[in-house]
């Protein structure tokens, strides 16, 4: 049924449809609507689940780890500082191989105190062993959340579904909310591969000596390597039932493109419009929507971008002292490829600053002008007066 829903609500609806059994969360702007909706479902009985109120994000993840260890389907959501506070337990969740799904609403970290879009919060967690899936619009959010459960449970690794603060979390648009029956077909009840069971007492995750620790880590890595393949199969199954395709990274007019934009989140939508405008002017622009960031689908990128001359990566994040993180990852992925493209890194739209079609066109012209990138990342839309005043 089509509904007008904000991105937050799309997450909550997916959690309801996934018949999640335990939710623990601590509210933080702009994630709050997600957990508010879910708590209402729980109190009304639309979702028969236990909602655990906790005093912090650290405890939220701890509670979810406990619940997931007992073999039930779980969910939490956070953002920015909340996610950062969870960090220690994010490692634990993946190490313990728990198929937890979490929504992260991308928000800037302070100071300066800022509640708007910035991708640095989720990207700071890239080494925690969580699968990361980025979403473009509300439909993408709902569908990705359902896919996330299948994916998490297939490899026993946690999944982070990432959506932009306000541009997505608080924007209303039409969303097709599927009926329960097809969702049940796509996502059957969780069959845990291991669980805490008083009938069969067992201790998990105790001390591990050097003789076994490395194999444990390699086991996680091999599971991660299997993720793209599983994702493709699960997404195909999803498309069969619901009619909406989701690839690892959607390629838009890339075949003959001379410059391909690579970006994630709502910027993808803006970029689609910019590409159309540039094509209308006879420019050979293309777009690659970055959907899966962890594991980074290296083979897929090498395949799609082989033969492309220039890639312009738009990062709404920054790894200080290096560059935009998507650009950094893409450079690393393509370095050993045959005839890799030149990667132009652009940092734009931090802390909720707008990235308009015009911004993207400016990036295009700038990329076209240069043969080779002059620097690892170019900051777009800085207030020149302010920046120049620092030189004096």
């Amino acid at each position: 049924m089509r509904q007008v829903a904000e991105g937050s609500q799309a997450v909550s609806e997916a959690v309801r449809l996934a018949k999640v059994q335990v939710i623990a969360a601590y509210p933080i702007t702009p994630q709050t609507h997600i957990v508010e909706n879910i708590s209402e479902y729980c109190s009304k009985g639309t979702l028969k689940a236990r909602f655990i109120c906790v005093e912090s994000e650290h405890s939220a993840m701890a509670a979810i780890i406990g619940a997931a260890s007992s073999g039930v389907r779980t969910f939490t959501a956070s953002s920015s500082h909340g996610l950062a506070y969870m960090h220690e337990l994010l490692h634990w969740a993946s190490g313990a191989r728990l198929p937890i799904v979490m929504a992260d609403v991308n928000r800037a970290l302070g100071p300066g105190w800022n509640i708007w879009l910035d991708q640095t919060d989720s990207l700071s967690q890239r080494d925690t062993g969580w699968i990361q899936l980025y979403c473009e619009d509300s439909q993408d959010v709902l569908d990705t959340t359902l896919i996330a459960y299948r994916l998490a449970e297939s490899v026993n690794l946690p999944v982070m579904v990432v959506l932009d603060a306000f541009f997505l979390s608080h924007t209303y648009e039409p969303v097709d909310v599927p009926d329960q029956k097809p969702v049940d077909k796509f996502l059957p009840p969780l069959l845990p591969r291991f669980q805490l069971d008083t009938g069969n007492p067992r201790a998990f995750n105790q001390f591990v000596a050097p003789q076994a620790y490395m194999e444990m880590r390699y086991n996680i890595q091999t599971a991660m390597e299997q993720v793209p393949e599983n994702y493709v199969r699960i997404a195909q199954e999803f498309e069969t039932i619901f009619g909406r395709p989701y690839s690892l990274a959607e390629a838009v007019q890339c075949e003959d493109a001379e410059i391909v934009f690579v970006t994630a989140g709502t910027t993808v939508s803006t970029c689609r419009q910019a590409v159309n405008r540039l094509r209308a002017q006879g420019e050979k622009a293309g777009l690659l929507k970055l959907k899966m960031f962890r594991p980074f689908p290296i083979d897929f990128f090498r395949q799609v971008l082989s033969g492309t001359q220039k890639v312009a990566v738009i990062d709404r994040n920054c790894s200080f002292g290096a560059s935009g993180i998507f650009a950094q990852e893409l450079r690393a992925a393509l370095y050993n490829a045959e005839s890799p493209p030149r990667i132009f890194g652009y940092i734009a739209g931090l802390g909720g600053r707008d990235v308009t079609p015009q911004t993207i066109e400016d990036i295009y012209w700038q990329t076209q002008k240069e043969n080779n990138p002059q620097t690892e990342s170019i900051w777009i839309g800085l207030d020149q007066e302010t920046v120049e005043s620092w030189q004096n």
Partner: protein
């Protein structure tokens, strides 16, 4: 581990897990402090003259264990239905709950338990030692005498009580009006004492000659004859006044009920007898005025009783002392009242006597009060001169509530004869203390008495516990009194004190119907649940819930610590809502 394969998962999980029991890891070896169940003393129980184990009693009521609650009261007090009505409730003044909202209605709950025992004709189990062949004669069947008989019988002594009046009970029967204590309630509780094997000889006043023969027929004597004689006014015209205590006796004995009650009456005095006389007059259609030489706040009468008297229409004139009573002379239709009292006005002096305000005549200012009757209730004294405790002729031992002398055989004095506070509960306490003292005397000799009795004190004393004397579990209780700050109040919700329906004041001048009614079962449960159970383990199991090592174990009905695994984190002690636990450093 049961793992399975689907198209989605091809690689087996490699996870650390073990089915070996963690029993091997005796984490108790990490401990340097250990938790223990350390039951402490509740403030109410230490304030109770008979030392009732109130925190436990309310716990038992809240668990609907009413027979067990009764038996717990009867360990320390044979008169729950009586005391639930007439006691002045020191316990409620001490109640920690009053710092949160309102004190627990302890006396209503005591009465509830006592009345249920009467109405259900319950035969409680009362612990009694076998007959030891020794006999004790008891003079007086008031609360002190019957208390002594009850406790001595339980300690194995054969007791015979000698009572001057036609019925047993002393002040309980003759001095307390029925609107406070119905006769039937008193008789049922006296019957319970008789059933234990106590013989009561009525119309048999003890004389000095009898006392001499007692010395050959009995092993010990207890004298609890009370203060039977009202102190007379020593002023001109005093013979025109009626003895207040005698008046109350006559009402209970149904003598002269119709006379001397209509019209205005001056009741001279400020004690409980003055209040009882005034409230009785109200019920007989009289119009009493209490005349007291100090102020209301100085009155020795229990304040709730004073308040009820005022509610019922009793008037109070303060800082006045009678100096002369005369006939009005010109008694006529207009001025029917036959007596005029001249009252000296008093004023409060700057100095105090024993904490009470001292009053002195306010110059020569006087006023006159014309009334139909005058009642005196200015205090009482022993009926016979030999009731006074001898001071010098024999070796003696003075305890908080009784005095023991060694006169051929041991003689104990108790009740009003020895008590600083003249109350029913203190009288019962004196009987109990005397029973312990005499028993210790026979078993271990004179010198052991003081140590044995003070060894059974509830908290810092002076009240004593028979359960402790008999070596019951209560003996192990820590004397520390739990304060409000030691209660984990976040475990308790504010809840109003149960309001017991009372007879409207306007209806009280019609009859001697009891003013307060009994709690319903439902109300009693609710009220008992308000009790913090200070210092007592009520098996709430917060310790067990919070123990991270699952080291709190259920032992019989109580709780224990499995020291093999307890790491001594102290969570259980910190979480105990009622301070029934403690942490102790390990030795070495």
């Amino acid at each position: 581990m049961t793992d399975y394969k689907t198209p989605d998962n091809k690689i087996p999980l490699f996870l650390p897990h073990s089915s070996a029991s963690t029993d091997l890891n005796k984490t108790g070896s990490w401990r340097y402090v250990r938790p223990l169940y350390d039951e402490k003393t509740s403030a109410c129980s230490a304030a109770c003259p008979v030392g009732e184990d109130i925190a436990r009693i309310e716990m038992l009521v809240s668990q609907q264990l009413i027979p067990e609650a009764l038996e717990t009261i009867l360990k320390e007090n044979p008169f729950p239905a009586v005391c639930g009505r007439v006691c002045f409730q020191n316990c409620e003044d001490a109640c920690n709950r009053s710092q949160m909202d309102d004190a627990v209605a302890i006396h209503h709950l005591e009465r509830f338990v006592g009345d249920r025992a009467i109405s259900s004709e319950q035969t409680p189990k009362i612990k009694a030692l076998p007959d030891n062949g020794k006999k004790v004669a008891i003079a007086g069947s008031g609360p002190a005498g019957l208390g002594a008989a009850y406790f001595l019988t339980r300690l194995g002594y054969g007791c015979e009580v000698f009572e001057a009046q036609s019925e047993p009970g002393g002040i309980l029967r003759w001095g307390i009006p029925t609107y406070r204590l119905p006769q039937e309630v008193l008789e049922k509780e006296i019957n319970r004492i008789e059933k234990l094997g106590v013989t009561i000889h009525c119309r048999t006043p003890v004389t000095t000659e009898m006392l001499e023969t007692f010395k050959t027929q009995y092993d010990a004597v207890f004298i609890g004859c009370g203060y039977g004689r009202t102190i007379d006014l020593k002023i001109k015209g005093a013979q025109k006044a009626i003895n207040g205590l005698q008046f109350l006796y006559n009402i209970r004995a149904e003598h002269d009920v119709e006379v001397k009650t209509k019209g205005t009456a001056a009741v001279i005095g400020g004690g409980n007898t003055a209040i009882d006389v005034a409230r009785t007059l109200v019920r007989l259609g009289g119009d009493p005025i209490i005349v007291y030489r100090r102020r209301r706040k100085d009155m020795p009468a229990f304040d709730p009783e004073v308040q009820m008297a005022l509610n019922e229409g009793v008037k109070l004139k303060e800082l006045l002392t009678p100096i002369r009573i005369e006939d009005a002379g010109s008694a006529s239709e207009d001025h029917p009242a036959p007596y005029v009292i001249t009252l000296q006005k008093m004023k409060v002096s700057a100095t105090e006597i024993k904490g009470r305000a001292r009053v002195v005549p306010n110059g020569d200012k006087t006023e006159k009060l014309q009334v139909d009757h005058i009642f005196t209730a200015i205090g009482a004294e022993p009926t016979e001169s030999w009731h006074h405790v001898p001071t010098a002729e024999h070796p003696s031992l003075t305890l908080s509530h009784c005095k023991l002398i060694d006169a051929d055989i041991p003689i104990a004095y108790g009740g009003d004869l020895t008590n600083r506070v003249k109350s029913v509960a203190d009288a019962i306490a004196s009987g109990k203390q005397a029973a312990m003292a005499l028993d210790t005397y026979f078993k271990s000799g004179w010198d052991a008495v003081n140590v044995a009795v003070t060894g059974c004190q509830v908290g810092p004393g002076p009240v004593v516990s028979m359960a402790m004397y008999l070596g019951e579990e209560r003996k192990d209780r820590n004397p520390h009194i739990v304060s409000y700050s030691e209660i984990n109040t976040h475990y308790f919700k504010s809840a109003p004190r149960t309001i017991v329906p009372v007879l409207p004041p306007n209806d009280r001048n019609q009859s001697f119907i009891p003013v307060e009614s009994m709690l319903s079962m439902e109300a009693a449960l609710e009220e008992s649940q308000r009790c913090f159970n200070c210092g007592i383990c009520n098996a709430c199991d917060y310790c067990r819930l919070y123990c991270p090592d699952m080291s709190v174990i259920v032992e019989n009905s109580g709780r224990g610590i499995n020291l093999d695994y307890c790491k001594g984190c102290g969570l259980c002690v910190a979480e105990c809502p009622r301070n029934a636990m403690a942490l102790k450093e390990e030795d070495g």
